[in-house]
Assembly symmetry: C2
Homo-oligomer: 566 residues x 2
Amino acid sequence: MSPSLVANGDLTPVTSGAVKGRVASVYSEVQTSRIDHALPLPSVLKKPFKIVDGPRSSAAGNPDEIAKLFPNLFGQPSAMLVPNNVNTLPADQKLKIGVVLSGGQAPGGHNVICGIYDYLQDRAKGSVLYGFRGGPAGIMKCKYIELTSDYIYPYRNQGGFDMICSGRDKIETPEQFKQAEETALQLDLDGLLVIGGDDSNTNACLLAENFRSKNLKTRVIGCPKTIDGDLKCKEVPASFGFDTACKIYAEMIGNVMIDARSTGKYYHFVRLMGRAASHITLECALQTHPNVTIIGEEVAAKKQTLKNVTDYIVDVVCKRAALGYNYGVILIPEGLIDFIPEVQHLISELNEILANEVVDEAGLWKKKLATQSLQLFEFLPQAIQEQLMLERDPHGNVQVAKIETEKMLIQMVETELEKRRQEGAYKGEFRGQSHFFGYEGRCGLPTNFDASYCYALGYAAGALLHSGKTGLISSVGNLAAPVEEWTVGGTALTSLMDVERRHGKFKPVIKKAMVELDGAPFKKFASMRDEWATKNRYISPGPIQFTGPTSTAVNHTLLLELGAQV
Amino acid sequence: MSPSLVANGDLTPVTSGAVKGRVASVYSEVQTSRIDHALPLPSVLKKPFKIVDGPRSSAAGNPDEIAKLFPNLFGQPSAMLVPNNVNTLPADQKLKIGVVLSGGQAPGGHNVICGIYDYLQDRAKGSVLYGFRGGPAGIMKCKYIELTSDYIYPYRNQGGFDMICSGRDKIETPEQFKQAEETALQLDLDGLLVIGGDDSNTNACLLAENFRSKNLKTRVIGCPKTIDGDLKCKEVPASFGFDTACKIYAEMIGNVMIDARSTGKYYHFVRLMGRAASHITLECALQTHPNVTIIGEEVAAKKQTLKNVTDYIVDVVCKRAALGYNYGVILIPEGLIDFIPEVQHLISELNEILANEVVDEAGLWKKKLATQSLQLFEFLPQAIQEQLMLERDPHGNVQVAKIETEKMLIQMVETELEKRRQEGAYKGEFRGQSHFFGYEGRCGLPTNFDASYCYALGYAAGALLHSGKTGLISSVGNLAAPVEEWTVGGTALTSLMDVERRHGKFKPVIKKAMVELDGAPFKKFASMRDEWATKNRYISPGPIQFTGPTSTAVNHTLLLELGAQV
């Protein structure tokens, strides 16, 4: 494809199965410049290699139950690619491989696909790569396109998942597994690459188990994707997209910090995407040094109440006011409310009451609430009370996700500050500004780190499928070193699993990796937050740079977890 | 200052009058790399020059009234710097100059200060530069610091106004003018540079007139600052900060577009900063090609109602649904409501009623509303109705600024779509997501354009003050050309002025430059918006790059206004 086509827009891939999207797009100069950014490969992938199996694996918990759920796969060793004199995989084997994007977007997804495509071109010439469209539903409905060089080209190093789009369907029921089998047979698939988060990788493993139990030749490999950063373990040190998303949010937070310091009159409450775990909030704090950072896992571990959280913020605001600072920046994880036990109690009581009782104007219904829940309810700002009472999902449940936690906290802080003012303990001025940074970060142009990491993950997945592996998750390690020195392999998905009891049955789950309160990133943060609270150590990371000395930086969380001193 | 100090944080300027702020800061790698970014100067500023006066000037309107308000300054010629064999200004003149930042922040403000500082170092060695702290209040209270090389250094090419901070006070009353005179006398000021928007530059001119009428030697030069882009004219083709702010917003919009296309299920309603004029929204549209863009000036010119605006959006949503697109991106200027006459009527009627009448539960009070206002009120979503009734400023007025227009429009679009669904005219699915991009853009690291433009504006202001000019606004032109070819001069502030009648008196005002419906940027947009509405021509500009081929791009508005075809 000639560069002029790219520069002038109207990228028209040669293939007929074109996705409506980039086809009709024009590209910005930065997007165009990224397409031809050369992707480095770990040196082991550049030369002949062989695949070496490790010892027999177990499970993250309840190995007996996992063994029952995965009779064909349990105990599989992990695999490691090591340099070899000759290639051990047949270069003339023509593979038929499918790839699917599952769940929310994360920067770098397109590069995983580029990686496996290039592997097949380089090492199994004549192979075919199918992209299932719209997520796992594409597998079940056999909706796919054949991915060609021309088709893939404009998506190299680009954000988004729009090359084949994603979806949140799951392959769960016997009928759905049957549909997946039919697709595998119809396309004569040798392998399937599932790019997704913890749920999707659990699903990938179930699919691998199912295909094997039916004696299908189709292997399944997973790939760790989520901006939330909560799919990781020793062998899989990071999920892709986290690096880019955090840097985009940190750019905005840094700007808001400079704004806060320049105007000197606003407290910016920034809610950050990441419902289950607070990794994004923690990483953004390490990058920018806000005055207050709430980490959900700490709130839960300390069994803090909403009043505790409010008081902590108010204490900092008062201390700062005494120092002459009536401004600040406060980071809040999207999932904060989910971490507070009393809020969970209140919500389940409300769900019960609203389903069965008449809610009278006079408020007699409130007598049905437990004392602690009533106290909390009365403590909440009126707007939040109304939201809890009025906005319900189709099942009649309170929609926690719709609560704008940052606005709620602003109101609660205002109320508490007013009380302290009455008591003479606060003489400052407080004006809150709320922000939510979420969608902006999921689809940005991937950083050089995410671009390279994803390319290696995809390329490695190609090697694993080529060698006949199944039920592994593509694993690229030694990430603090230059790309050449990265290690490459696959980790048994069953080794990441535990079980949860649902509806009386054991279900396999890959446990979400939460922020560890004794992990290096949290400890680093905890050792500095008091200084940040009052001393304004703001850092403004600025926009992501794709060239120059700052373009190869890696996020703090990963470096700290890998043992670096940052 | 050694680079290691910067890299390790704890920048401690040598001067004693240190602003609490960057002093205690640590810098990100990108911030550090920007400090030493070399700032190019227009060639006329690099060699000996002389200042040539143009013809006598007039006013933008009502020249007779402007002449009365500015008896000493009216009619002043504009000034142009032209190359000369020798310098005509005395290099040994030791000047005492003050500088002040006024109003909201805009990326590049620090570089204006660096520019005038470097001018004095280069061309009037031994001069002193005072920075008035916290805006015009700093002048009135004589709160200042002496700016030194060490002090200024860490702020080079950095965002924010925190070097000396800003403020929104105005020098208006005779007492305040007296205070300003006292400061000028106390510091023995030869000149004052006022960096601000339309109001601040009007104020600068009044100060210049006042100093001259009192025979003070203090000259006053203005500098065009505002991210809103509404302070510009032929001689002053752009206000600084607009370029950076728009690029930051466009980065986020572009990301959200890729997200919209990848998930295929959200309509993102993005409200953009810019209350008075819709330049930012228009520029962001030109950079990113959204499906719908509302331009306030067009809404006002066509006397559109809120229902018209809603219907326009709904029409696009329906057309897109018919094409299979249940997603999109919609840009809305912050000031939309101010452009809609019927909303203004409703609000003034509500202010009247709420001040004087009892608002009864049964709604009898609504009979006091004019028919059109009542219709509009009933058309508004309930949450907005409540906001209008409940949230008042200290004067008891409805707080229009607090209305989240993007959320209001989402609700109105939902309601209208439901109606069309009932009528069988719409079969799609609609889920709105709201965004407000504002504070994130005001304090970002300035683009190379804003960095160079501001440096030239500041350097030019030094030359104008050195040559004894007063009542001019620093003017740098030919901005589509390379920096070397930029023209440099000063424009009579009175020539930008008209009068407005307030409280029975004529007040001078620099008219805000609104989006011109027959101007090149709007016409370009208007010629393409129908295509963008249905055809998904999304562009994702990506993060601002400071090096490489994309780092010197200039915004579309400026280029189109300068006659370029982009």
